[in-house]
Symmetry: C2
Subunit: 335 residues, 2 copies
């Protein structure tokens, strides 16, 4: 089915943003509800989403399954899927994985830049790989149907997660390191581990992940997509824009420093440019999704491939990932 | 449909108890997961239930809708519905009502013996009626589909709740005060307010709620059911056994004193008999449900009435109560 999915956004949510999702033809968006939040704080963010679902039922509703994407498309609404960029909402309690799955969390990063209880983040000097708890939590996420997301994790941890997980994992938002050598972008060995195990990567439109940053062109971005798809297989890719629309700079400060440092920490920014960077001209907000599809067509993808990249691949991944694990170990075999 | 439902139990859960539910033909049981627990503590109790659901899938599963009772019956399992005897799991946060509904909570008492943030408990000297927050929370429970349960609330609060609630409310476990004048049993004005507004009461088999206590006979209990049904209408009644099987006395102490007093507080017991009283001979555990049906037949109920009292009435109530509110105010009119 033709559909349009963005596998990562963290906007300053408002009716304006939801209307722009509709204008851009988004059938589903995976939204972040936790960077450093505790269980209770992340639940409070669910409560905020519940109010938005109640206020704007003609625009959005909470998605739980791949079929909710189809329903969204049929009804002209956008299905919102919840996820975490850090495992902080499960605290030290593996039982919270299933509780969160019931509440609708469908993606969880095992770490966010720093070491977590589960895995190492991409900003740490050393990456000892998955922790004892990390291995247990991956098995539990596999059991209930929550996707292991390694977007902000370090290489070894990511490669180990891809190998250990009995279900395909994801890097919801990043680009190839070979195109733009940012710390957050992924080296070939990482992309290979994720995709060879059936996983997905979403191409990011966050300026720090783009060659030439905010000056990146649509052509450059789409050429990168083409080269990556050629190398690893088009079916493993989609969009994960990392759109942080309308956020005040205090939010990027929370993302980077949480409560773990008295700060400052500039992450991908710098002391000279600590805030959110300006979006590239070709992707300012959700209304620019149709332009991405045109850009992909222009670099040589056929209509079917464009549809796959714009949402079809994520939908197939949602279908396979969000429910309880099939009996025994047939999942990998079915890939 | 013929089915068997118990609208209140708080056993020391075990495979033994679950097998006894099956032996007694229970299609559904509403179980308590909070007396004084905070949000996080009650979530930990959900986690414990998730483990039981995982360990004993041939015996039990979590119920969310009336149709889950039908599924349980078709599959020879027991659907377990979660609920609270106190609003402590929503703390001071009305947004947690919807979060809890998503997690499966289907009943919430507005107070447990003492004054709560929402309503007055039956042990308080004064009952000023519903609080400001209580009125708001009833509207929210009506909206999402969580049943207002007033089993341990005081009379005025209960009558006000029955009148204010736009959907029928419940007293899941109590008996008529006229039969046995215990503080927890309900005066006629209370039973009338609940039933006239379409609500349900579950007859309790907890000895402190029974005439002659542990020595109560099946005949006496069933005669009481017959007189009550005659007076208020058979369709408003079912069973809410309040079975607290295999619990150590430390549990009844937690129920009574929580963290609100340095104790002791004997509740319905006394310094001389502070623990759980022995069950009556005719109702020791779930295996005695078929005997209740026979007893009801013996006092003159026909087969249809017995089926209604043993589960059919609760099932109709579950069907009408557990989903989001129908548009506008058609619910009461449809009664």
């Amino acid at each position: 089915m033709t559909c349009r999915i963005d596998a990562l956004q963290y906007a300053n949510w408002s009716e304006k943003v939801f209307r722009q999702m509709r204008a851009g033809g988004l059938d589903a968006v995976h939204v972040t509800i936790a960077y450093h939040e505790t269980f209770r704080e992340a639940v409070a963010n669910v409560e905020r989403w519940n109010r938005w679902f109640e206020r704007f039922p003609d625009l959005i509703f909470q998605g739980f399954t791949g079929d909710d994407v189809r329903r969204a498309r049929a009804e002209g609404r956008t299905a919102i899927f919840l996820g975490f960029q850090n495992p902080s909402p499960i605290e030290d309690d593996i039982g919270l994985v299933e509780v969160w799955h019931r509440l609708g969390a469908r993606f969880m990063q095992l770490s966010y830049n720093n070491q977590s209880l589960l895995a190492t983040g991409c900003y740490e000097a050393e990456d000892p790989g998955l922790t004892r708890m990390g291995r247990e939590v991956i098995a539990e996420m596999n059991r209930v149907g929550m996707v292991v997301d390694m977007s902000h994790s370090a290489d070894r941890s990511t490669i180990e997660a891809a190998a250990l997980s009995e279900r395909p994992i994801a890097v919801t938002h990043a680009n190839p390191h070979a195109w733009h050598p940012a710390l957050r972008n992924k080296r070939d060995a990482v992309i290979r581990a994720v995709t060879e195990n059936g996983g997905m990567m979403g191409f990011s439109l966050y300026p720090h992940h783009l060659k030439d940053g905010s000056a990146c062109t649509l052509g450059s971005f789409c050429e990168m997509v083409a080269r990556t798809a050629e190398r690893f297989g088009v079916r493993h890719f989609g969009i994960g824009s990392d759109l942080c629309q309308d956020q005040p700079d205090s939010v990027v400060d929370w993302m980077r420093t949480g409560r773990w440092t008295r700060g400052p920490d500039y992450g991908e920014g710098s002391a000279a440019a600590p805030g959110f960077p300006p979006q590239p001209a070709f992707f300012r907000d959700n209304r620019d999704f149709p332009g991405l599809a045109e850009g992909l067509r222009a670099v040589g993808f056929d209509a079917e491939e464009v549809a796959a990249l714009m949402g079809g691949n994520w939908l197939a991944f949602f279908d396979a990932s969000f429910g309880p694990r099939a009996p025994a170990r047939e999942v990998r075999a079915a890939e």
